[in-house]
Symmetry: C2
Subunit: 345 residues, 2 copies
């Protein structure tokens, strides 16, 4: 019998935890009630979690509570957390990946601490120069992967090439039927533009095009990230973080302006009623909860970071992402891509 997909969940991390975590789990269990290929390990205070599970009448045949004493607070810095966090739900959920019990772990807790703990416990994969944080972006054709989103503020060409390999593997694990197109984020599409680091990464990726499990799309500019022409967008952590947050800010600015316009008078209010279902579809497409979950790649096991402020539905999407990533054999895909890279050296 094939081993079950095992997801370790930090049930105590994030705002409004463990309430939203268990509600999110409940949505996941209901949507996947016919499947028997997974198991959820819940890390946190046993009594509190039992109580939450009972509220939703969740049986423990697909999920198991593992008792932990404490929780990483949002105020904790990565430095202090290393010493004091060994009894926390976050530490133990990540640690379950090296004990062999879990394939992936998920937390909505303190981001800085999660990244440091994950690096410490899981260690960077052989042949990977630096781990990277990848995110899902809505695009015209569905979803794209963007990395790095802030794990490494300065990167060299080897890092960017590794990010390309890992990003392509992540995309392929989520969408197994597609050969992803990977592009480097730059300030122009011509070969002469950009920093020396980007130009070097470009020449490495261009040369290994044929043998690869992905297609190299060259350079892409910021205005093309969401147009669906490329599936994986690679950049350093500083630029990626600014791009992600600028997109969020722009989306908020526009939707706020639109809301204001549409609540101006009685006519606009009637108009909203008339276009209710279409506007709902529009809103749903942009719903950030659908893209909730940044994936920490390049360690000996993937770690997913949910937004701390998301709600139960957002947390559900993160659990679902964990399930899909492991079902799509992320770790094998990464190893496979990296081996192609090494063949060429």
């Amino acid at each position: 019998m094939k081993k079950k997909i095992t997801i370790a969940v930090d049930a105590m991390g994030g705002e409004d935890a463990p309430k939203k975590n268990i509600e999110g789990l409940n949505i996941f269990l209901k949507k996947n009630s016919l499947k028997n290929d997974f198991e959820i390990l819940l890390y946190g205070d046993e009594n509190i979690l039992k109580n939450e599970l009972n509220k939703h009448k969740i049986s423990q045949n697909k999920c198991k509570i593992i008792h932990t004493k404490s929780v990483v607070s949002d105020e904790e810095t990565p430095l202090t957390a290393i010493k004091s966090s060994k009894d926390t739900s976050m530490w133990n959920s990540v640690k379950s990946q090296i004990d062999g019990s879990a394939d992936i772990s998920l937390s909505a807790g303190n981001t800085g601490v999660l990244l440091v703990i994950s690096r410490m416990i899981l260690k960077t994969m052989e042949d990977v120069s630096k781990p990277a944080l990848a995110g899902l972006w809505p695009s015209k054709n569905g979803i794209s992967v963007v990395l790095d989103l802030g794990a490494n503020i300065e990167c060299d060409e080897k890092n960017l090439v590794d990010f390309s390999e890992m990003g392509a593997a992540l995309y392929k694990s989520i969408f197994p039927d597609q050969k992803p197109i990977v592009s480097l984020l730059n300030i122009g599409s011509e070969e002469i533009k950009g920093t020396e680091v980007i130009k070097k990464a470009y020449s490495v990726l261009k040369d290994m095009d044929e043998k690869n499990n992905f297609l190299f799309g060259g350079y892409i500019e910021g205005n093309k990230i969401m147009d669906g022409s490329t599936n994986v967008i690679v950049t350093d952590g500083f630029t990626g973080n600014v791009a992600l947050k600028t997109a969020e800010g722009t989306a908020k600015f526009i939707t706020d302006s639109l809301k204001k316009s549409l609540s101006e008078n009685i006519f606009t209010k009637i108009s909203v009623l008339l276009s209710y279902f279409s506007l709902r579809k529009f809103k749903s497409k942009l719903d950030p909860r659908k893209y909730n979950g940044a994936i920490f790649l390049g360690l000996n096991g993937p770690v997913v970071k949910s937004h701390g402020g998301t709600d139960a539905l957002g947390f559900y999407y993160s659990i679902d992402l964990c399930y899909r990533i492991i079902k799509g054999n992320l770790m094998d895909q990464i190893k496979n891509n990296l081996s192609h890279l090494n063949d060429q050296k």
Copy 2:
């Protein structure tokens, strides 16, 4: 009598030139028909321009044609252009700034060539480490200034401090009644985050806070660029260019999705009619033509670059921007800010 504000316009640069350039001029002249404090110098083919002016019955009392033989093509690279462009409308409009006839020049032509020509002809100002390209962004409270947008892909702390001084001067020339808040774009708001270069620029700007003509707002993240909390956002040219284009791409993605939703069926189409005026206001607020014109700062004279693909209204906004910048004494504002900076050394 006070010297007139003199704007040198490359009348032959950009798509659909000189038609849209002269139409844009016509809008400007009509809106400013009561003012006598400006003069427009039009650089280009005399016969063609005369013909265009006649079409709109524009008299030559506020504008003067200066004949030039050729035009910089979009295919020209900066390197080849230096040799071959001395007879062009672009070269001569910028050159008019050192002959003393013009205070500012404006072109919608080839960006790369314009930046190189401008540097060559006007030279970098004393005490400025690098010139920078600044843009106007819509924000919750009106308009913000962002720089650098791509003139310098790698920057040190001195560059970022200079950009702060120049960006503040630009903002103050456009909005004379406000003391601008200047912030550094970063990936977190805590002092410990960011690259070494950004941290060093932060400590310089923090220390000179009191004497300055602007307030230092510390770090700002990408999602706050448009929330109106800061007036001038400073970053290196690579990050600024990616942020600008990502914002453009996000805006396009959202408005395209919205348009699609609102043309789905008869109800949504009626709803658009009902909210026609409100949606028009919404659209107008986001209209990129209103923010058309990137300002090249730090040379011995400002140069404004209009989008090549903009229309007559967009070109009008660029002419208007030139007028406002000079009326607001941009060059004196920059010198004043730089002298404060030097006092501290």
